[in-house]
Structure formats: structure tokens, C-alpha cells
């Protein structure tokens, strides 16, 4: 297994109290595999990724427990300079907002080349040649001329390609893409997702795709982890989860999205709001919004039940949820 996150806990100490952002998350990614982490804002999907990358703001953040095994090594026990070596060379991240993730006062060539100067000890000249090569690879036209341009001179889609190029530069074995296409238009989103999938195949990388878009997930993922209030509530191979969700939250999400292929009647809406992370309800965190909630849901935290060999659901009534369709 390329990456294994085991029982990870992350909390943030704020003035309002302790916000429990991640509460015992387990997931794993193999080489060449795409794991989609699906969740709404505040579900802990990005915080988990930041903990894996080692870019969590600490304080206020604090990793309260768990292990992050990368190729067998526990990253949480690694020294800072070891981690720095892994970051960039072995794992890289693509952020949502390319414009604010790129340095506005450096040319894209300098930013791409920096990877090679720092990690590979190349000269500036060689690094620039490498940068042009990378820009060609992510299909930026006229790379030779554009290598000297600044981020603001590129369109949104091209900036995201540059982010991808930067992440790919050292051919890492794991890429974490945090909402990589959320800020892009659909036609450009399709281009960028295609590119990402192609490079992933070529380099046989593991990919963690963090998103809230059920459509994007269906398009590219092999397996899904659905997060709610800092926990994984359901994991499954992508085909099964869309056909028959085993958790009421997943089911609600699938039913609440408007469809392209039909003019809807009234949409099913999940009631209420996601919980405040400083005051997660007792029992199952989803119980106040759940149409199936019983007394046991308000008192006992559901474990991740084994639905079948590859599927898990954190619902006391996963069987009923499966059957109810």
C-alpha cells in the first residue's frame, strides 16, 4: 500500500473551544489508484490531506492521534527535514485556487524550475529547460515564450495546468488534488481532469482527489470515502456506491443533486445543517439530519460496519438503507 492513514485525529484549539476536525479517519491508496474523498465544507476532507502532506497549521491545529504510513514509514514520527524531502519528491499537492497558490512576482519558469534547483541541484539554465519541457507536457501552447511570463498572464485553466506541472515535476508517487477543478468552467474542467488522469496513468501514481462534486467523482475515481463531521461514514468502490449507497448521508447527497437528464420535481433536501465541529452531536454525528434516526443513533457512535469485503458504512441501519432503495 502506498499510503495508509490510520485512525487519524486532528483538532483545532480555538477561542470557541476545541474543534474536532478529524475524528478517527482511515483510508488507503495504492499505486495507480484514485481515491475520491467526498464531503461538504467542514467535513475534514482537506484537513486530513493537509495532515498527510505535513502542511497543517500547527498551532492552532494539532494531530491528536493516529498514524500516516507512506510506503511503510510513519510520517508523523519523521523529522522535519525528512518530511521536507518526501514532500515534493514523493508526494505533491494541487490546490484549488491556482492564482493564489502561485507566486505573483516570479515567472512561471522560475517557479517550475525551483523544484529542480532545490531537489535535484540543477543549474538555473537546466532547470528552465526542464520547465519548458513540463509546460509542453501539460499542453501549454508556445511554452518557450510563455516560460518567462507571470501567473496573471495565464488563464485560469492554464494556471491549473501549471499547478499540475509543478506537482508532476519530480514524478512523485502520490498526488493529492484538493478541489482541483472547482474554480474552473466545465469545458476547462474536462480538459484538466483528462490531463490529470492521463499523467496519472503514465506515471502510475496514487491520486487522492478531494471534492464535493459527485459528478467528477463518478468520472475518475476507483473508490470513494465519504466524510461527514470529521469521520468517514462510507467507503466503497465507485460503482457500488452510486448504485446502492449504504449510508443515509451518501444517499441523501445523491438524491439532492439536480440531474442533467431530467427536469426535476422537487429536490430531496437533507434537512438542517452540518454540525458545528466544537459541538458534534452525541452518537452518530448525522443523527439530527437523518430520516432514519432511532434512539440508538443518538446514544451510540456507529462503528464502520463491514457491508462486504470492500465496503464499510458507519450506520447502525446500513442494511435497511441498502434495502430501502
Amino acid at each position: 500500500m502506498l499510503l495508509e492513514v490510520r485512525d487519524l485525529y486532528v483538532e483545532f484549539h480555538t477561542r470557541e473551544g476545541v474543534a474536532k476536525a478529524v475524528n478517527g479517519v482511515n483510508y488507503s491508496v495504492a499505486e495507480g489508484e484514485t481515491l475520491a474523498v467526498l464531503g461538504e465544507s467542514g467535513s475534514g476532507k482537506s484537513v486530513t490531506a493537509q495532515a498527510v502532506m505535513g502542511i497543517l497549521d500547527m498551532p492552532p491545529g494539532k494531530i491528536a492521534g493516529g498514524e500516516i504510513l507512506f510506503k511503510g514509514q510513519d510520517l508523523l514520527k519523521a523529522k522535519p527535514d525528512e518530511r521536507r524531502k518526501i514532500r515534493g519528491q514523493e508526494m505533491a499537492m494541487i490546490f484549488q485556487d491556482a492564482l493564489s497558490s502561485l507566486n505573483p512576482v516570479l515567472t512561471v519558469g522560475q517557479q517550475l524550475g525551483e523544484m529542480f534547483v532545490v531537489h535535484r541541484g540543477m543549474s538555473r539554465k537546466d532547470a528552465k529547460a526542464k520547465a519548458i519541457e513540463l509546460m509542453d507536457r501539460v499542453r501549454i501552447p508556445a511554452a518557450k515564450e510563455r516560460v518567462n511570463q507571470y501567473p496573471h498572464q495565464f488563464s485560469g485553466g492554464m494556471r491549473q495546468r501549471i499547478m499540475i506541472a509543478m506537482a508532476m515535476a519530480l514524478e512523485p508517487s502520490l498526488i493529492i488534488a484538493d478541489e482541483p477543478t472547482t474554480a474552473l468552467d466545465v469545458t476547462v474542467q474536462a480538459q484538466v481532469m483528462d490531463l490529470l488522469a492521463e499523467l496519472q496513468r503514465e506515471l502510475n501514481m496514487g491520486l487522492i482527489l478531494i471534492t464535493h462534486d459527485l459528478g467528477v467523482v463518478a468520472d475518475v475515481a476507483d473508490k470513494i470515502a465519504v466524510m461527514y463531521a470529521g469521520r468517514i461514514v462510507e467507503t466503497a468502490p465507485v460503482h457500488e456506491i452510486y448504485k446502492a449507497p449504504a449510508h443515509p448521508y451518501t444517499k441523501g447527497l445523491l438524491q439532492s443533486i439536480p440531474r442533467l437528464d431530467q427536469k426535476g420535481r422537487e429536490l430531496y433536501a437533507i434537512q438542517g445543517l452540518p454540525p458545528n465541529l466544537t459541538r458534534i452531536p452525541p452518537g452518530c454525528a448525522f443523527n439530527p439530519r437523518c430520516p432514519m434516526a432511532q434512539d440508538v443513533c443518538r446514544s451510540d457512535v456507529p462503528p464502520l460496519y463491514e457491508v462486504d469485503e470492500q465496503r464499510r458504512s458507519a450506520c447502525h441501519f446500513w442494511k435497511e438503507t441498502l434495502d430501502a432503495r
Binding site: E40, S41, S155, G156, G157, M158, D185, V186, T187, V188, Q189, A190, Q191, M193, D194, H212, D213, L214, G215, V216, V217, A218, D219, V220, A221, V238, H239, Y242, K243, A244, P245, K251, L253, L254, Q255, S256, I257, P258, R259, L260, D261, Q262, K263, G264, R265, E266, L267, Y268, A269, I270, Q271, G272, L273, P274, P288, R289, P291, M292, A324, R325
Partner: protein, 401 residues
């Protein structure tokens, strides 16, 4: 929800074309009668000048953000406008509510051109056309209480609600949008994104407008909250017989809420028709590419679904290609597309046949192509099976607590 309207709206493209002609030839204001479009937009354009020089500014060009948009809006219907960023859809919205003045063209509200109004006449019209903004975090003043925000329209239009009754009116509005009326003295930061959007909607409703222009009203919200707000908009429309101009980039939401849909590209509408005409029988290559690029929430679709991947980016509106503005990214482009601007009309090949492809499409080589899998082919559980289906009030009840 507007089944009675759908039929008329479906052929609206053609009918609109003829009204345009007759009105243009008369060049007079036809009296508004029931059944006429409540809003007629003709040749609407907004050009922002590009200047050079500091002391002696001269214009060296223009950003043609909106460049000739025509559409009709009927009472009680929802017109969806979709397009990618920079296509001018938000500028159209701003012109409709008079936040921007058009460079050219007319906006006729019940037959009267409102684009050049000012002063008292403008104020009177504005009451009837209200806007809901995209970002519920920046469109509410953080220093004002919810009561002041929703009640502010009454300061400007005191005739709608005399001073004494305002508080009651605001509380009624809060109730209508599914918020607890006791929240009247709270500040925006005490609400979640979905609740704030409800406040924005309540403010839009305050003056009992006939038309609401909603610019990306749900795109800043989480998926599970989006559905609540979309249902609220649906319900309000039926309750108050509102006409909506619903602007969004999310094609699925637009289909869900709209009776008719217009697709914009680079400042123009390239195709317009009923929701089924546009989504199931698109004839413009841009619409087809746009629809095929939308990820469908069904993993089985990825193997057999045809994808049209467009190359390159949208050209700059400061430098619009000659002829058809889509030709630089179009796989069908030929010489004719470079020389001749395609008009938004029913393409010749469909003009005399009775098919859903018979709707306005601005393409020289229009042909029908289905890119969205037919209904029922997707495997995900449909909304019909939803537990507690149809009970929006439940969701709202929860937000009140």
C-alpha cells in the same frame, strides 16, 4: 410546475422572433396585454472602453462583455441563462436591474423601454425587478441587523409598507423563506451560508417584485444546502407568481429550475429553447460541448459516454473573432464561419419539420446531437424514491431551531 406555460414557452423562440419584427417595424410601444412577455430584451450590449494615455485619453478598443442579446421572459416562468465565466451573463443581470447602463439595445418591461429611464420613473420600475446575488457573505452588510437589511427596501419605497407595519412585514418575510422570525435582530455573521442566502432572497422579495434576477444564487453553497435553496426558489415562484431570470454556470441546476434556457458564449446567446430542446436536442456545437463536459453522477456513464473536449480557452471579449465567435474552438468551423455571423434563429434545415430541434440556434451547420444520456439510463437512485420526498417545510423547520 408551469406545465401550462411550457407549451407556449417551447415555441417561444419562434414567436419571439416575429414579435421582434413587428415591434421593430412599428417602432412604437405596444400596449402591454396579458400573455405578452413581461420582459423583452432586444440587442442588449455593454461595451467597456479600453483607453490609452493619461492626459489625452483615447479609446483604443472595447471589451464587448455583452454584444447583442435578445430574449423574452414571460410572467411566471423561469428563464435560465448558462455560460462559462466571462461570457457576459452577470453583466446581463446587472443591466436588467439597472446596476449597469447598456451601451445599446432595449430592455422592455411590459412594453416600456426601461434602459434609458432615470429619476422617479426608474425608481418605480426598479421596485418590480429585484436581484438575488451570488455571494451571501459579501452581499449582506455585516453591520446591519437582518431586520434592517430586509427592511431597507421600504426606506426607499415607503409606499409599499408604512413605517408602523414594517417590522411585521419583515418577520413575515423571514417566515416565508424558512427562517425563524425571532432572528430579526441578529447579524449576518450569526447565520450559515444557506441561511444568509435565504436572507438575500427575503430582501429580494420585500417589495413584491414581479421579476427576480438571480445571479448564481446557489453556487456558493454546499451540495446538501443547495437543494434546500433551490426548492425554496421553486416554492416562492409558485406562491407569488414570480418570473425568474436564473443565471448560473451549473447546467444541472439550470435544467432543474428553468422552463426555458439560453446558452451564452462570448457576449451572445448562441442557443435558446425549452429545457428539453436544449438538453435533449441541442443543435449548437457549443451547447453540445458544454453538456458533454458536465460530469454525470454515474460511474457507468464514463465508459460509453461521448465526450467533446474543446481545445483552448475562450477568446478575450476585447478581441472577438470575426464571423461566428465560437469558430476558434469549434470542430466544425469552415470558411463560412469566418466570414458570416450566424444569426440566432431556427436553422433552415429544421424550419419546416416538427421536431424538438426546431428552436433558435446561431450556427451555420446546426445539427442535432444528443449528448446527455436519456432519462432513466443513469443508475443512481432518482429523487422519486427519496424518503420524506416533497417535504421542504421539514428542512426549513429544522433551520428555525
Amino acid at each position: 410546475m408551469h406545465a401550462d406555460r411550457d407549451k407556449g414557452a417551447g415555441t417561444g423562440g419562434g414567436a419571439a422572433g416575429s414579435t421582434l419584427l413587428s415591434q421593430a417595424s412599428e417602432d412604437a410601444v405596444a400596449p402591454y396585454t396579458e400573455g405578452d412577455p413581461i420582459l423583452q430584451v432586444r440587442g442588449l450590449a455593454k461595451h467597456y472602453p479600453l483607453t490609452q494615455g493619461i492626459l489625452f485619453k483615447r479609446q483604443i478598443g472595447a471589451v464587448r462583455a455583452v454584444d447583442g442579446v435578445d430574449f423574452d421572459l414571460y410572467a411566471g416562468e423561469t428563464l435560465g441563462i448558462v455560460g462559462e465565466s466571462g461570457c457576459g451573463k452577470s453583466t446581463v443581470a446587472k443591466m436588467l436591474v439597472h446596476l449597469e447602463r447598456p451601451t445599446a439595445g432595449a430592455i422592455r418591461y411590459k412594453g416600456e423601454d426601461i434602459s434609458k429611464l432615470s429619476g422617479r420613473a426608474l425608481k418605480a420600475v426598479r421596485r418590480n425587478i429585484q436581484m438575488v446575488f451570488q455571494d451571501p457573505y459579501t452581499s449582506l452588510n455585516p453591520r446591519m441587523t437582518v431586520g434592517d437589511i430586509i427592511g431597507e427596501p421600504y426606506e426607499i419605497h415607503p409606499e409599499v409598507a408604512p413605517k408602523g407595519s414594517r417590522r411585521q412585514k419583515v418577520q413575515d418575510l423571514l417566515d416565508v423563506v424558512g427562517l425563524n422570525p425571532e432572528y430579526i435582530n441578529r447579524y449576518p455573521h450569526q447565520f450559515s451560508g444557506g441561511q444568509r442566502q435565504r436572507i438575500g432572497i427575503a430582501r429580494g422579495l420585500a417589495l413584491n417584485p414581479e421579476i427576480i434576477v438571480a445571479d448564481e444564487p446557489v453556487s456558493a453553497l454546499d451540495v446538501s444546502v443547495q437543494a434546500q435553496v433551490v426548492n425554496l426558489l421553486d416554492r416562492l415562484q409558485a406562491e407569488f407568481n414570480l418570473s425568474f431570470v436564473f443565471i448560473a454556470h451549473d447546467l444541472s441546476i439550470v435544467r432543474h429550475i428553468s422552463d426555458r434556457v439560453g446558452v451564452m458564449y462570448l457576449g451572445r446567446i448562441v442557443e435558446i429553447g425549452s429545457d428539453a430542446e436544449i438538453y435533449d436536442h441541442p443543435t449548437h456545437p457549443y451547447t453540445q460541448a458544454l453538456l458533454s463536459a458536465v460530469p454525470v453522477p454515474d460511474p457507468t456513464a464514463r465508459e460509453h459516454r461521448e465526450r467533446i473536449i474543446l481545445h483552448g480557452d475562450v477568446p478575450s471579449p476585447a478581441n472577438i473573432p470575426s464571423g461566428c465567435r465560437f469558430r476558434t474552438r469549434c470542430w466544425k468551423a469552415q470558411e463560412r464561419c469566418e466570414l458570416e455571423v450566424p444569426l440566432l434563429a431556427v436553422p433552415a434545415e429544421f424550419r419546416h419539420v416538427d421536431t424538438p430541434a426546431r428552436h433558435d440556434s446561431a450556427c451555420h451547420f446546426a445539427e442535432e446531437k444528443r449528448v446527455v444520456p436519456p432519462e432513466g439510463e443513469l443508475e443512481i437512485p432518482g429523487p422519486a424514491e427519496a424518503p420524506g420526498d416533497g417535504e421542504t417545510s421539514e428542512a426549513e423547520g429544522d433551520e428555525r431551531s
